[in-house]
């Protein structure tokens, strides 16, 4: 309980810092590059085109509304991928800062997550536009987008906190995470429908043990297929996410002031 109160107080106290730092980071990304903010749109759009070409045309995928289907997959995956990759090395990359002033270390992660959330929202705006163009019917189940996003955020944040802590001590965690992430990417059904391609037990298993595959599937169901989400599954992953977050926060609280001694 103590850790939860501390998390709340710190987040409140440092929220202005986290927001300001995220904004500044996004701004610097824009000013440094040639095409400016267009990158935020070009990036998801080009990935979408690549996957649509390779899997829709070459491999003849026949998922209904394949283009928005892929775009949702990419958006959800990118958020998760960025958070995980970002959390590793986050402490080391901020060596300058944390050896000179106290900051709760997960504030760094929260601030980063704001920039990733921002990009996620851009992708979703893009999705809406594409759905309009393609005449995909809109429905009220789309509103479930928000609770599912919150669950995605919590579970990703929890895993990232734990990884952030271990990445301080374990130097080659990045190598391992690259492999695991690549594996997860193919298992999560970014460009195929697990329910259709892997029928029976295997598909069920993959959707039950991999939160990203599950949440990606839920996003698609509520946004493009007008289906009611799987509430028991969502509750399950919410609880798991909260447990991960609790473990991560506890680890960080216990060790964060030793980070400066290591890096």
């Amino acid at each position: 309980m103590k850790d939860v109160v501390r998390l709340y107080n710190n987040t409140k106290k440092y929220s202005r810092y986290a927001i300001r730092s995220a904004k500044a980071e996004l701004k610097s990304e824009v000013t440094d590059s040639y095409l400016n903010w267009l990158w935020w749109i070009i990036e998801p759009l080009s990935f979408m085109l690549i996957y649509v070409f390779v899997f829709g045309y070459v491999f003849k995928a026949n998922e209904e509304y394949f283009i928005p289907f892929v775009l949702i997959g990419i958006t959800v995956w990118q958020f998760f991928n960025r958070m995980i990759t970002g959390s590793i090395k986050l402490v080391v990359n901020n060596r300058e800062l944390i050896s000179k002033v106290y900051i709760p270390k997960y504030i760094l992660l929260i601030s980063k997550s704001f920039t990733y959330l921002f990009k996620l929202f851009i992708s979703f705006v893009l999705l809406i536009i594409i759905m309009l163009i393609m005449n995909v019917p809109f429905s009220f189940t789309m509103l479930y987008f928000f609770p599912i996003l919150i669950i995605l955020y919590i579970i990703t944040f929890g895993i990232s906190c734990i990884l952030m802590h271990f990445s301080v001590y374990v130097q080659d965690l990045a190598n391992l995470s690259d492999i695991v992430l690549r594996f997860l990417f193919y298992l999560s059904g970014v460009f195929y429908n697990i329910n259709v391609r892997l029928k029976g037990k295997l598909g069920f298993l993959m959707l039950s043990v991999n939160p990203i595959a599950f949440l990606m599937n839920e996003f698609r169901n509520v946004i493009i297929y007008d289906k009611i989400p799987n509430f028991s599954g969502l509750t399950f992953w919410l609880v798991v996410g909260l447990i991960f977050t609790y473990i991560g926060i506890k680890l960080i609280h216990k060790n964060e002031n030793s980070y400066a001694k290591v890096i």
Partner: protein
């Protein structure tokens, strides 16, 4: 009545076997795992400092001076014991606040201010003063990574010096920027030190500076307080000890 600004009780800080490791060595090198090296930088330091006092800390290399400052600054947490700052804000002057190098100096002023416990309004009020003091021209609107090391430290000093915290920790003698800036920063530092109500801790190797500035001196030796009290007396004993 005297008000305490810093209370430190039985402070221990240990650098444990927090060495970096790799996955391979954790799994396959079991021998290494058991050998945890520990180094106690501070072993049982206790003292209190009243508000408005200027305290000097002296000691040879490796005696725990910088560790003590960092612990007071909140960067290291105590392994045993406690540090109570009585809700005062604190900053490590001279090494400044860490910058995010991708961002502009201007943006870093705000981020540093927020980290030092100020809100955006308070930083806005001091913004111009900081920019003037740092005196790095248009570079303030350029990313910090484009700065020369001199400009970097000038801005770092300006931020911590102008955004005045209740407790200031000063590590070593300032050697920031060119001769002109050095003069200016030394003057500013004196002004800050002698402001009433501000509690200052200065770490130094040079007895002369400490004698000039401090009300009281603490002599750290091997992580413990060897002597504490009147500057003249302590510094004389220290110099005698060092010359032996």
């Amino acid at each position: 009545m005297k008000k305490e600004a810093i209370t430190i009780e039985n402070l221990h800080i240990t650098y444990k076997g927090l060495k970096k490791t790799s996955i391979r060595s954790t799994f396959f090198n079991k021998k290494n795992r058991k050998k945890i090296e520990t180094f106690e930088a501070l072993r049982g330091v206790s003292f209190t400092i009243d508000e408005g006092k200027i305290i000097g800390i002296i000691g040879k290399n490796g005696s725990g001076k910088s560790t003590l400052l960092r612990a007071i600054g909140g960067i290291f947490s105590p392994d045993i014991g406690s540090i109570d700052l009585h809700n005062n804000t604190v900053s490590l002057l001279s090494i400044g606040v860490g910058f995010n190098k991708k961002l502009t100096g201007y943006e870093n002023i705000y981020l540093s201010g927020l980290l030092l416990g100020f809100n955006e309004e308070q930083v806005r009020e001091k913004e111009q003063e900081i920019i003037d003091f740092a005196d790095i021209g248009d570079f303030i609107y350029k990313p910090v990574k484009t700065y020369s090391s001199g400009m970097y430290s000038k801005l770092a000093f300006a931020i911590t010096a102008i955004l005045e915290t209740d407790i200031m920790l000063i590590d070593e003698v300032l050697s920031v920027g060119d001769v002109q800036f050095k003069k200016k920063s030394y003057g500013k530092m004196k002004e800050l030190i002698f402001t009433e109500n501000r509690t200052v801790i200065i770490v130094s190797h040079t007895p002369k500076t400490l004698n000039e500035l401090c009300d009281e001196v603490i002599w750290l030796h091997d992580g413990k307080i060897k002597m504490q009290g009147d500057p003249d007396k302590i510094l004389a004993a220290y110099e005698k000890f060092m010359n032996e």
